[in-house]
Symmetry: C2
Subunit: 229 residues, 2 copies
């Protein structure tokens, strides 16, 4: 069977949208997008994800799930989101927006779908440079999940066709990711990064700050932010 | 913090029930049971799991989830369950009752809960001797998930207190598991193994056949099966 399919974890944010365009345009894969509605504050990101999948004519699935134990300020709660300086982000302890084991849960569903689709590639837009400091975004974590893909699936165990986990952005800065995305014509005006889940980006959460840093480093305006005239 | 808590994956079947009693009675852990309603044919097993958790006064959570892609005859479907001889079970290809990446999904939720509970132990009743041949029950798979527990959680990454995955039954035969369970006073009449999901065990599915083999090897009657008088 030709190695043409990929499952792309698509949140609708800047990184995963760039990863989708990389998989479609650089790898020429037939991409299937996997979206999660997990009680995130910013479920507005799902609208962006669906719009991107449709624009590129990719089949997609939305998994609806809840963590009964909560444990994150990124989940819908009455508590305020933390606002941190760029200097702090990624350099201190794991922030309160960490969703416990989120990427392991997302990847486990992706492995399940991959086994059914007979798909050998899973693409994830994780990044370990300009990032919030979540443990499940680092290269050592991704290597561990790669071993699980090999050992814990029908594709890996029986068919000797291990599923490969691709993380094309993992060692890029946010500026490099945006440069790549611009070259691939990612419609960043249709992506959504802000954690706050309001109509316009808050400009204060980690995700807004990292996005702003990236655009500012390459001297471009973020097409999502209305310009003051 | 003392190392007293454990999360036990509890299906209500023979293996996971024995693993729960092992954790409570051998390890003296304060056990939290994790149950899954995933569209299994035999959701009757959940009644057994809840009864066991309550009997041992363990807090429990039920995660409700669905795999939108199906992909298993163990999920509710109109297709019949396969009926195989004992000789075939575990010795041929992965059977159609394999639920794609099920244990990875279950363990990823367990890791999430462990990070919230600050719990260092996860117990799972997987078994790689008298088993159906699922890839995600083998020692190499469990080692891979152990690495994920270390790399992908707050407990592992920040607190240097890796979560340990315990699989006490992995190298036991079904007869050895039942002997252990009897010594721990596991109420096997309250467990449920049959895949078919009817009122009484079908006696024909892999799970019934393996259970019957275990009891017969130690010369005991299965207390779940009504005796013909």
């Amino acid at each position: 069977m030709p190695d043409t399919k990929a499952i792309v974890l698509l949140s609708g944010g800047l990184d995963s949208s760039t990863a989708l365009y990389w998989a479609l345009d650089r790898k020429k894969w037939d991409c299937h997008c996997l979206l999660f509605s997990y009680g995130q504050r910013h479920d507005r990101e799902l609208t962006s994800a669906v719009r991107l999948a449709r624009r590129r004519k990719c089949p997609y699935r939305v998994v609806t799930m809840r963590l009964p134990w909560g444990g994150s300020e990124l989940l819908k709660t009455k508590r305020a989101l933390p606002s941190r300086s760029l200097h702090t982000i990624g350099n201190t302890s794991i922030p309160s927006t960490y969703v416990p084991a989120r990427n392991t849960i997302f990847l486990s569903y992706a492995l399940s779908w991959a086994d059914v689709l007979q798909c050998r590639n899973i693409v994830m837009g994780v990044n370990a440079l300009d990032y919030s400091g979540y443990p499940d975004c680092r290269p050592a974590y991704c290597r561990a999940m790669q071993a699980v893909a090999r050992q814990g699936t029908r594709m890996g165990a029986e068919q000797r066709r291990p599923i490969r986990l691709w993380t094309p952005l993992i060692r890029m800065t946010k500026a490099q990711i945006i440069r790549l995305g611009i070259s691939l014509k990612v419609p960043y005006e249709d992506t959504w990064s802000c954690y706050a889940g309001r109509r316009i980006p808050c400009g204060k959460c980690d995700s807004c700050r990292l996005r702003e840093k990236g655009f500012s480093e390459i001297g471009r305006a973020d097409p999502l932010i209305p310009r003051s005239s």
